[in-house]
Each structure stands twice: as structure tokens, then as C-alpha cells.
């Protein structure tokens, strides 16, 4: 059974890759990248073994700490970013008369087939290199294999145990949102933490304190399933062979328990009925009716109003829309933090920093913050470029109903203005107000409006021109689709560059204008932004109409490509 499942996984992975040349190329690149990283890591492990003598307990603690993180990562991350690997989805074995306990070992081991699993496996075994020239190196191979197995058991156990809960639409939406928050925190938090740590350690000499904390945590982790495989190695390395055997027995118990538990949840998952989602009543309102009844949206504009109303519903209910917010917010948050902390870092450097450098640094930090704001504004406009792709094949009704292209474009633009507009304004007012001076608020707001509007206008054209594959309706917003990278990067690079250039004159003026001129900048920003947006809606509308059937066929291709 184990061999059959491994073969099945192998064939599925190969067949999946063979579907297009792009996929093979992507795979090869990714594989080379992994190979390089693994090589560097292994060399690192080997080199680190040189400095091991006298620091055995440090190496052991860090191994346990990092190894625990790896196992925890395998267990938790697939829950958030799921769809990571459903190649051997237990639900697919339902028709066969198989018990979960027979499938469990094979499904766990099948994790090794596929790049993430393979890389983890090699790295886990590679930990043994830390103990080169020591008897523990052989223990390392055993501990590494057990650690890898533990990560796979954790992954399988968690995804299968929660698969029933996770497959409901509401839960999927929720996990998508949680995952996005995690990304936002990780992407900016990493910088904040490392900044904080380096400031702290440079002031308090806290390196040793940090290490002590790590050792304490590792000591506890060693007794949990996350750390016990690594503790086998750590204990052996420190010559505590008795403890090593204790950890070995403990690990085997945990693994046995995990695989047994996995078999049980597998049985449950295979017997459970297909997802039963409770239908949700949307409330008595009719958003299409409501928005298209707004003053000024009746008559010839009613179709546009309907599209706007529909987009607003999707902004609110479809996590893929709000899922774009981290991408918008990440840059300004990161740049603001960098801008704020840079002078601190220079100060921490000591008294010998010359005054000119300090002045330059404070200008630079303001520049960074301003750039972050501008980038956020144009990104907020760029979020529109996935709008049509998010409709997926439901867009056919726009094509067959003969709704005009400009109505399609304008409805989406206005929905974005309703959602993103206030955000752009609040950030544009608050950040300069609190960090610099109220006098430049009109400059910043003017520049941000023109950048946002240029982003909207350019995206209105680009989204009809490059329809890149996105997560399908109902999928996690994080699900990456094959072929996404190339087209999306082209679309993103192209539209951000063009939008930035179109907005550049106003932005440059905003940098130099002071006093009453600031208000002129604001006025010009609004007018020029309006012109860019209108032009985008008009040209994008023409393009949408002339490319209608082509767009639909691309959407159909993207819809069917990764579906089974």
C-alpha cells in the first residue's frame, strides 16, 4: 500500500507538471533554487560543526528550537494556505474499500515526493552534519528522519482532522483572512522584531540573554512532539546517551500515536458526507437595487450602478478583494517604520556620527515615508487590475447582455473609490499631520489622489488587456495559480510604471510647493486624476468591448486549468 501510494503521488506530480512547458520551466527554476539553498544550508551545517566544541548545549538548543519551528510550520501553515498539497486528498479514496489505518503510513510518506517535502527531508537529515566527527552524527540521521516524519504526520493530521470544518465556505473565507493577517504581520513584523532586537542588544548587550531564553524554550519543547526528535540528537551530542534513548522512545510514541490518530481521522473524513454548507440568507436588502437607485445612477447609468453594487458586495463578501489590502498597506507600513527607525539606528551608532549625516538621514527618512505613501496610493488603484479576472466565467453575462464597456469599467472604478477612497484620504491626511506638519497635507493628499486615480485609470485598460489567472471564486485568496507570475508581473510592472509616470508631474510639484501653492497642487491633483481616470474608463471600455469574446475564452481557460 505504501509503495502504491508513493507511485500514485509520483505519477500525479509528473502528470501535473507535464501539462505545460511553462510549468516544467517553472519547476526546473524552483528546483534549482531549492538545490542551491539546500546546498548552502548543508555547507553551513558542516562549517558550523567546526565551532561546535565547547558550545554543544548551544547547538543542541538551537537545533531543537529551529526544528520545532519546522514541524510547527508544517502543521499550521497548510491550514492557512490550504490547497498547498491536496494531490492525495483522502476524499478521493472514498470509493475504495480501504481503511484509514492502511492508508495512513503511505499518505504520510508521500509527503516526501514533491519539492517542499524533499527539501525538508534533506535539511532534516543534514542536521547530522552539525555533529561531523562526533558519534552523534549517526544519531543525527535517525533523529532527522524521525523529525521529518513528525512534520509530515503533523501536516496530514491537522489538515485531515480539520478538513470538514475547513471546507465550508464561511470557514474558507475566514482562514483566508487570517492567513492574510499572518502574512502582513510576518512581512513587516520580521523587520520590526529584528530592528528591535538589534537596538536592544546593542544597548543592553542582550545577545547572551536572548540565547538563554532560547535555551529555556528549547528545554520545554524537547518534551513535546515538536522538539523530541531533535532532542534525541542534542542529548547524544552532549554525551547524555541515556537521555537520548529516552527522547527516542518518546518520539516513537508520539509518532505511533500521531499515525494512529491520523488513521482514525482519515476513516472519519472518508466516511463523512461531502461538505454540507448551511445556506445563508443574505438579509432583506437588494444591493443591486439599492446602489442603482442612488441619485444620478438611474436611467442610462442603471447598468453601471448595478455593476458598482455588485462590486461593493464582492468587496465585502469575497475575501479575494480585501485580500489585496496587505499588498497595499505593506509598503507604506514598512517604509514608515524604516523611516522612523533609521535616525534611531544612527543614534545608536554612537557620538561619532557627523551632523551632516544626521540631517541627511532625517531627509532620507521623510523621503522613504513619502515614497511609501505614494506607492500605497498607486497600489490601491492597481488592485482593480484583478477585478475582471475575479469575476471568472461569470463575466459571460456582461458579454451577452451587451452592457457597454465603459459601464463595466466605471462601475468597478466607483466601487473601488467607495472602498479605497476614504482609506487613501485618511492615510494622506493623518501621516503627514502626525509625522511632519499639517502644512503639507494638501501636497500629500493631492499627490496621493493623482497616483490613486492614475492607478485606477491604467488598471482599467490593463485589466482588459492582460487577464492573468487568479484564485477562483470561493478559493483561498492566497492560492497561487500556475501562469500567474509571468502575466501578473508584466501587468503589475507595466501599469505601475505607466501610472507613476502619468502622475509624476503633480508629485514633483507636490514636493516643492509650499504655502498657498499646496492648495493649487491639491486642486490640480483632483482635476488631472479625474482626467486620467476618465481616459482609462473610456479606453478600457473600448478595449473590453472589442476583446470581449477573447477575454471570455481566457477566463474559461483559467477556470478549467486547475480544476479536476
Amino acid at each position: 500500500m505504501v509503495a502504491t501510494l508513493l507511485r500514485l503521488k509520483y505519477h500525479l506530480v509528473i502528470a501535473d507538471m507535464k501539462r505545460s512547458v511553462g510549468r516544467v520551466v517553472l519547476f526546473v527554476f524552483f528546483a534549482l533554487y531549492c538545490l542551491m539553498m539546500v546546498f548552502i544550508a548543508l555547507v553551513g551545517f558542516g562549517a558550523a560543526s567546526e565551532y561546535r566544541t565547547g558550545n554543544e548545549h548551544v547547538v543542541a538548543s538551537i537545533t531543537t528550537f529551529v526544528g520545532s519551528l519546522v514541524i510547527a510550520g508544517w502543521t499550521i501553515l497548510p491550514l492557512l494556505f490550504f490547497g498547498v498539497d491536496q494531490t492525495l486528498d483522502p476524499a478521493r479514496f472514498r470509493p475504495f474499500p480501504l481503511r484509514g489505518s492502511r492508508l495512513a503510513p503511505g499518505l504520510v510518506l508521500a509527503g516526501v515526493i514533491g519539492l517542499p517535502g524533499l527539501v525538508t527531508a534533506v535539511l532534516c537529515l543534514g542536521v547530522a552534519l552539525l555533529w561531523l566527527g562526533h558519534g552523534a552524527v549517526f544519531v543525527g540521521l535517525i533523529a532527522g528522519s524521525l523529525g521529518f516524519l513528525m512534520s509530515q504526520v503533523g501536516c496530514r493530521l491537522a489538515t485531515t482532522a480539520l478538513s470538514g470544518t475547513l471546507s465550508s465556505r464561511k470557514m474558507r473565507d475566514l482562514t483566508g483572512v487570517i492567513a492574510l493577517i499572518v502574512i502582513l504581520v510576518l512581512s513587516t513584523g520580521g523587520y520590526v522584531v529584528s530592528m528591535g532586537l538589534s537596538l536592544w542588544s546593542s544597548r543592553a548587550g542582550g545577545g547572551a540573554a536572548t540565547l538563554a531564553t532560547v535555551e529555556q524554550i528549547a528545554g520545554v519543547l524537547a518534551w513535546t512532539p515538536l522538539g523530541s526528535p531533535w532532542a534525541i540528537l542534542g542529548a547524544a551530542g552532549q554525551g547524555q546517551w541515556g537521555m537520548s534513548v529516552v527522547f527516542l522512545v518518546l518520539t516513537c510514541c508520539y509518532l505511533g500515536l500521531g499515525i494512529w490518530g491520523y488513521g482514525v481521522v482519515l476513516d472519519r473524513a472518508m466516511l463523512a458526507p461531502d461538505r454540507v454548507s448551511s445556506a445563508r440568507v443574505m438579509g432583506s436588502g437588494n444591493i443591486i437595487d439599492a446602489v442603482s437607485s442612488w441619485p444620478g445612477l438611474s436611467g442610462r447609468l442603471a447598468g453601471m450602478g448595478a455593476i458598482m453594487g455588485r462590486c461593493l458586495r464582492y468587496w465585502r463578501r469575497d475575501p479575494r478583494y480585501l485580500g489585496q489590502l496587505p499588498a497595499v498597506l505593506m509598503m507604506p507600513v514598512l517604509f514608515t517604520i524604516m523611516g522612523l527607525t533609521m535616525p534611531l539606528m544612527v543614534e545608536a551608532g554612537g557620538d561619532e556620527v557627523p551632523l551632516e549625516l544626521m540631517g541627511f538621514m532625517s531627509n532620507l527618512s521623510l523621503g522613504l515615508i513619502a515614497f511609501g505613501l505614494g506607492f500605497a496610493a498607486v497600489m490601491a488603484g492597481y488592485t482593480l487590475s484583478a477585478d475582471l479576472a475575479y469575476d471568472s466565467t461569470a463575466w459571460w453575462i456582461h458579454l451577452t447582455s451587451g452592457v457597454r464597456g465603459w459601464q463595466d469599467r466605471l462601475g468597478r472604478v466607483l466601487a473601488s473609490v467607495v472602498v479605497m477612497g476614504p482609506l487613501v484620504l485618511v492615510v494622506g491626511i493623518a501621516v503627514p499631520w502626525f509625522l511632519y506638519s499639517g502644512s503639507v497635507v494638501p501636497n500629500v493628499v493631492g499627490a496621493m489622489i493623482v497616483l490613486y486615480a492614475a492607478g485606477l485609470g491604467v488598471s482599467s485598460i490593463f485589466s482588459a488587456w492582460i487577464v492573468y489567472p487568479v484564485a477562483l471564486p470561493g478559493e483561498s485568496p492566497l492560492k497561487m495559480r500556475t501562469g500567474m507570475m509571468g502575466a501578473q508581473m508584466l501587468s503589475q510592472f507595466g501599469s505601475l510604471t505607466i501610472a507613476g509616470l502619468l502622475a509624476l508631474p503633480v508629485c514633483l510639484w507636490a514636493i516643492v510647493a509650499r504655502g498657498w501653492m499646496s492648495w493649487i497642487v491639491l486642486a490640480v491633483g483632483v482635476v488631472w486624476g479625474g482626467i486620467l481616470m476618465a481616459a482609462g474608463v473610456f479606453l478600457g471600455g473600448k478595449l473590453t468591448e472589442s476583446r470581449g469574446p477573447t477575454i471570455l475564452s481566457i477566463l474559461m481557460k483559467n477556470d478549467s486549468k486547475d480544476r479536476n
Binding site: 443574505m282 437588494n286 466565467t393 459571460w396 452592457v403 469574446p549
Partner: protein, 264 residues
């Protein structure tokens, strides 16, 4: 079989509501639809039958302006579909197979949305959508998200979207798939009423019984080629439609080979 070729000469617009001339579509090197000629008489209930992958959906998509043909023309109410892409829109109602709907809208919202896209005024949209939801038995579910609908309910709301603007021609791809018998009866009634009043329906199906019972005309397509077209009596040629169909597309030689397939 020759009824298809004999109708090649163009006929007056008021007789045929839709005409296909030399319609051809390739997907890569695979010919999905090959030189298809077909006339759809006004007021007819036209069945479009063929095995899976025969080119039914491809043909219907080219007729409704959703898929650009490589060669040939499609005419609807006297207008060339691909020369006047927007002109025919209000005259045709479409129910595609396997395309999504905006399913985070409720049934009622979706109908309002489609009605407004067709440029209808609000009052008409409101009254027609209520009528449609009632007639199709979706009244109780009209406030639920379409994403939570069953396959049959989704088909029904799709049908409602196709008819809300009261078109002249309805192009329905597999309208009876996943539909329960009660709803099927209701839909059949609605379609019959529509054709009696001068409307035209083209529907694809691979259930011969449905087509034989409901349609007055039928076209048989296989491998992208039109095998026969005409009234149901003409095509069936004295047999029942299913036997004639299997004869035309080449059925299984015999079912007697699986001798082991017996309950023991």
C-alpha cells in the same frame, strides 16, 4: 441527412430567426465545428443533440456571440452576429453550460443585476424577477446566495436570467441537466408557451426522450459535423429518435460481452 444541405440557400428572415453558414471552429489542430450550416425556423423548439464533445456548446457559443468563429457566419434576426456584436444582445437570451454566475449575490439580486445590464427599467425588472422566482419555485430561496444553491436551483436561476429581458430567441445549453421532474415539467411548460407566442428556443441535450417529447425540430451533430437536421419526424425516419441517433453516431456493437457482470 440531405435536409441539412438542401436548406443551404438563404431563406427570408421572417421564416428563420437564426442561420448558420459554414460555421467552423478549431481548437489548436482539433476541429470542433466543421462547416456547419443550419437554419432555425421562427417559432420552433429546436433540439440540438450529439454525443459528449460533439461541438454543441461550441456551436451555440458562436451563435450567441460568446466565441468567435474561425470561419463562417451566424445570423440572428437578420443580423450578422459577428458584424454587429451588440445589436443582437437584447433579442437573444442565453443559458450557458458550466459557466459561473455571480454567486455571492442572492437569487433576487442576480436577476436584478442581469435585468439592469440588459438596460431594462427598474420597475419591470422588479416585477418580472418576482414572477420568475415564483414560477420556477425559487421564491423561498430568493434571498439566499446563489453559491448555496443546488445544481438544479442554479440551473433554474440561470434560466430566469436568460428570459428576464423577454428575448425573441432563447439559446439554452443543457437546460434540463440536474433538474428534478417537477421543475422540468414547469420549464417545459414555460418554453412551450414561449414558442406558441412566436418565440424560438434552441436547446442542447443528450437525453433523446426530452428532445423527442419537447422539440418539433432537431439537429444531430457528432465530431463537429452536422449529421442530420429537420423536423423530429424527418430525422427519426420512422424509428424512435434514440435508436436513430445511435444508428447515426455509431453506437456500441453489442452489450453482451461482459458475461461476468451478473449478480452472483
Amino acid at each position: 441527412m440531405d435536409s441539412a444541405s438542401s436548406k443551404q440557400t438563404s431563406t427570408p428572415i421572417d421564416v428563420n430567426v437564426a442561420s448558420l453558414r459554414g460555421l467552423t471552429k478549431y481548437f489548436g489542430s482539433m476541429c470542433a465545428v466543421n462547416q456547419l450550416n443550419l437554419d432555425i425556423p421562427r417559432g420552433s423548439m429546436y433540439g440540438f443533440v450529439g454525443p459528449n464533445g460533439a461541438g454543441k456548446t461550441t456551436t451555440l457559443s458562436m451563435l450567441t456571440g460568446m466565441l468567435r468563429p474561425d470561419m463562417g457566419q451566424a445570423w440572428v434576426t437578420g443580423l450578422d452576429v459577428w458584424a454587429n456584436p451588440t445589436a443582437i444582445r437584447s433579442k437573444v437570451g442565453v443559458l450557458p453550460d458550466r459557466l459561473r454566475l455571480f454567486d455571492r449575490l442572492s437569487g433576487q439580486e442576480l436577476l436584478t443585476y442581469v435585468g439592469l445590464l440588459y438596460g431594462m427599467d427598474k420597475a419591470t425588472v422588479a416585477s418580472r424577477s418576482t414572477d420568475l422566482l415564483m414560477a420556477l419555485g425559487l421564491g423561498d430561496d430568493s434571498r439566499k446566495a446563489v453559491a448555496d444553491y443546488s445544481a438544479g436551483m442554479t440551473k433554474k436561476i440561470g434560466l430566469a436570467c436568460a428570459v428576464i429581458h423577454a428575448p425573441d430567441l432563447l439559446v439554452l445549453d443543457e437546460p434540463f441537466e440536474a433538474i428534478d421532474p417537477v421543475s422540468a415539467r414547469v420549464i417545459a411548460e414555460i418554453l412551450r408557451g414561449f414558442t406558441t407566442d412566436g418565440g424560438t428556443v434552441i436547446l442542447s441535450s443528450h437525453v433523446m426522450e426530452t428532445v423527442e417529447k419537447l422539440c418539433d425540430h432537431v439537429a444531430v451533430i457528432a465530431g463537429g459535423n452536422l449529421l442530420a437536421a429537420g423536423t423530429v419526424e424527418q430525422v427519426a425516419a420512422g424509428q424512435d429518435l434514440e435508436s436513430r441517433f445511435i444508428e447515426m453516431v455509431g453506437g456500441v456493437s453489442s452489450a453482451g460481452e461482459l458475461t461476468w457482470l451478473r449478480p452472483s
